[in-house]
Symmetry: D2
Subunit: 356 residues, 4 copies
């Protein structure tokens, strides 16, 4: 079922499309795809800016990516591309995805529409699902957990930014049944996680020199975390998820509180994580005694993970850091495409973090 | 023509109203007026939030200022108050002001509608003036230059934030005819200067980790600067005004480039400024060799001024700093009220800057 | 034992001293004391800047507080003042405090030196205590919990910034024995909490556009929280404390995870908190359904508290917000002085938050 | 005199060294060189961190660039590399450079030590030059102006960050003798321009929510601007340079005020710039009516230039934007290496700006 890049596109490159290219995840896709040697952008859509060049909206792309934005017509994208990235809003993506799949395209969907296996979960946390018949075809695109299914998938549900940081942070523990099944994820995100939108609440004057919690216990990324961790654990895991807004553009730091069933031996957890993630190109375990920081991964596709067991309170604290627009969205989407096409998994994703 | 505070309000306080109280200048007015011992807030309006408590919109006011917001009806405000602060948008303020003056109220208008003496200037930089007949009654409320007229005025046109920093920075030079009549004002403002609005351009993700110039040469505050400086100079002064947006909430730093007619003697300029501003409660001249910074005045009604003459290029650089919401808006408005009522000019304005 | 303000100082004001006035807590004390009508600053010390005016170090104070900084000599401060605020580093404050108490002065110590009742706890989390014999005289200056002892105390151990937010956030629960005795405090602080120091780690280039956890499980504020909550609970409470650094200057937001012994009835917790804090001038309970934000209290002495019970995971999340330099340090210190002197508790502390 | 990359290094890569690799320009060099296909890092020094892995200091490099830092010994670097980047402090670089040149290595010096042709200028703005005999060999590495000499040079004086933005902004005007020879450069820089240093003035608490001017008229980058523009103009050009510090990490926006000898015809200036910079890979002229912003080039080697002629005041305003660590330092250094080696000028420099 793999696409054959040799047959498609000009000069052996695979034609790809991006739907919803002027949101922050969309433009990050363009930034990464523009330097991907094996693909060619053939169709790029934006409802708001159709008719303009993308570089009119994002001058940073001028001279590097000057495609003209089109209105969203899935059939046109299907005609132009073999793989389509859908970076559309939740609840509107499903229709476009369905149309693309009908036309036998492979789709990487960055919305939440196909992340939850059970349509009832979707209905509970979002609104009525528009294409529940496709859920069975969707693979949750957390590459480290589902690489094999991703390789053959026609529909990837690219994970949410928060779930990526939470799930990868504790999956080894649940795989080994070391953790009690009730964890707290206290996550802190930069503002781009909220998307590109005109809103007083997201204005600089409101966000700067401020810090807040929001949607505590009711954030829509909760069921994603529970679904994947339950699958890893083989039993129901519940997550109390408390997201916070940090006055920075990029990055999510997740502080995860886990009760272990028994105190770990010296080095036991480090060994567990290191085996679980052996060979993973984008998972970086920080040295014992250290914890990752948001800037360590800014602009890169890495996720960094640190562990601290607190013997006083018998709790493990796991801290993970990722760039919400890269590993948390566009980077992981390209990673999935690379896997789907049998390309090096880090193609176009070797960028080092932009520090300082 | 002065209001007599003893006669009005409960307990000898003067009843005042604030129209447009949920914009940033409006809420800053509330913050200052809430601690003013001689006034009582009797009417507070907000089109967007009418019916809510102001503390529902700004939780920082909870327990301190919980008035219910009303829709804008100038006659109601006129009935409830002796002095009315209008913090309404440009081009819509004039109507409300006209209605209030008809009812014999004194008005401090924070919009631009009555700042330019000549309606033709207004028409050129804004749109058709709605109450040009009132322009002759308006006093430009830069207290340091017009204290006497302010005391007796019925309509104060409260200065723009940028003009306050620019005019006070160079007025002494023009008063003494030391400067050539063509200056450059390169000003840098925090984001609250743009008001409280839902706009992608003002969102945190766009403003943070960015810096830009905007409206170079065409910003509407230009004619205010030219009007006042020309009046001080007794001849036509032109200003090239280039505003910039700084990723901070509050503060304007203006760097003003002036060609002097001749090189100044040692200490001449310091002496000039110090005499010009002698006794001024809110003008602070920084010691020779130093320059003011935005934070030095954050939250206070001060304007700080520093001078550097560059002999190599025969140019004087004047740097001024103020808080755009205080001395650049609400603080200066209350200062004007204090003058109008014969109260200590710094009543409710003695707050020290919030540093760090 | 109360000082009699009528007898001391010029014009009936009480002479006070500030030791260590150029650190951030110190300068915040000056900012507040400068507007306190019942005190007069008679001695202000700074090791680093002795001989300079404080306004040379903090231009924001120019014209408002221009005292000359002295070297630290407790006997001189004792001679000049009745109440002394010590804003000195941990582990060096005890000596100065001992000297002042010998001279019969009342001391409000902002360091950690007298916060822990048990010298062994101090030795474990800090270094060998220099004046353990004074510990029995020290009152932990969390006004809401110890108002009565504060009124008569000669030595106040002013609480740490983090403990203030954590303890007040959950004290009502422990007072009623509703909570299990093992809580998680995930706190996020602005940078001024780390003090005024030359450090690469605190430089703008490192902190901006970053977010990190630090000292997880080993932060020195942990035993303060445990001591006070255990006292309230009447049994040993343990706290897993995980502090984080936010790219903002001021503010601490604490997200506290509590397991309740049983699910609360509707409105039960709101009622409990509202009774526990009835009449408290600085505790603000936010309306049900809302959570406080850091900016809501910036520059004010308030602490805002919000509650969210998550039935899915049977956990209560308490969120508190305070300004680390005001309620978390200098403001609470002045509050304690007001209580010690029998003055209105909010004297000089009525400032509204500086928003936006 | 060109190095022959085919002969050197393992696998046909050229061995290069970086002296002073843990400063911000140094680590940016590592970030860029790590992805340069034609070079191999063979020696990396840091006085402060010798013996550690560079990824211990910058975790963002972990797994990508884990070289062990060495102490600075020019002879060792010379033995290990053909091209040496010196990112050492001003006034200490000259010695190392001299030693390297003696050993016949080609050097790209990021310090100011060889930027000024005249040792007397250096002595006036810096301190006594330590290797004035080498000044005649140094080529000022502003690629757009000196590409030919750079190709054959043994010593490149890599330009300062501010001069790069100022000189490229107005060079076309002076080349055509359109401008009067007295310009004002009002520049605004992010904090990384001040380097990685422990300093209260650069701490987050001081820089955040602040904006200031510094070194107005006396900044050391002034003579660089004057030297290069005078050379372009064929007559003495003087520059009043006023730098400012912006609360952001990366980026310089320069607003340059120029008096033209006569009013430009419509489109005349755009045409001039477009011809002057035709074919330049890193100079981007923004469309008429627009101005560049700092973020447009963040993380990229581009400089963006915008023009606005203000007929009212007969002045031209030129605005340029660059990333001070890339085009203003490390990127331009690699660009120069590419030119020296006859490689594609944009090798390893094709990165798109990291936006948002």
């Amino acid at each position: 079922m793999k696409s054959d890049p040799a047959k498609k596109g000009s000069g052996g490159t695979l034609p790809v499309a991006v739907l919803g290219a002027t949101g922050y995840a969309g433009v990050e896709l363009l930034r990464i795809l523009a330097r991907h040697p094996k693909v060619k952008l053939t169709s790029v859509t934006s409802q708001q800016y159709a008719g303009k060049r993308v570089s009119d909206v994002y001058p940073s792309l001028a001279g590097k990516c000057d495609v003209v934005l089109e209105t969203l017509e899935p059939e046109k994208a299907a005609a132009a591309a073999e793989i389509v990235f859908a970076a559309l809003p939740h609840e509107t993506s499903a229709d476009a995805v369905a149309s693309l799949l009908t036309r036998d395209k492979r789709v990487i969907d960055l919305s939440a529409d196909f992340r939850l296996h059970d349509a009832k979960d979707y209905d509970r946390w979002y609104k009525g699902h528009k294409a529940p018949h496709l859920l069975k075809d969707a693979v949750y695109g957390l590459t480290e957990l589902h690489r094999k299914e991703i390789a053959g998938a026609r529909l990837i549900a690219n994970p949410g930014c928060y779930p990526t940081g939470a799930i990868l942070g504790v999956a080894p523990l649940f795989a080994k049944k070391l953790a009690r099944n009730n964890i707290v994820v206290d996550a802190k995100s930069g503002t781009t996680g909220a998307g590109r939108s005109a809103s007083v609440d997201l204005s600089f004057s409101e966000v700067n020199e401020n810090f807040k919690a929001y949607n505590v216990g009711v954030h829509r990324h909760t069921p994603e975390m529970e679904q994947e961790l339950s699958e890893v654990a083989g039993e129901r895991v519940t997550v109390l998820f408390a997201p916070h807004l940090v006055p920075m553009n990029r990055g999510i730091l997740s502080t995860i509180y886990v009760e272990l069933k028994s105190a770990p031996a010296d080095g036991e957890l480090e060994k567990l994580y290191s085996e679980f993630y052996r060979g993973e190109p984008f998972v970086r375990l920080v040295p014992p005694g250290q914890l990752p920081q948001a800037k360590d991964v800014r602009g890169s596709n890495d996720i960094a993970i640190g562990l601290r067991y607190d013997a006083r309170t018998s709790r493990l604290v796991v801290v993970t850091a990722l760039d919400n627009l890269v590993k948390g969205a566009a980077g992981q989407a390209v990673e999935n495409m690379n896997v789907m096409c049998g390309w090096p998994e880090d193609e176009a994703l070797r960028e080092l973090a932009l520090v300082p």
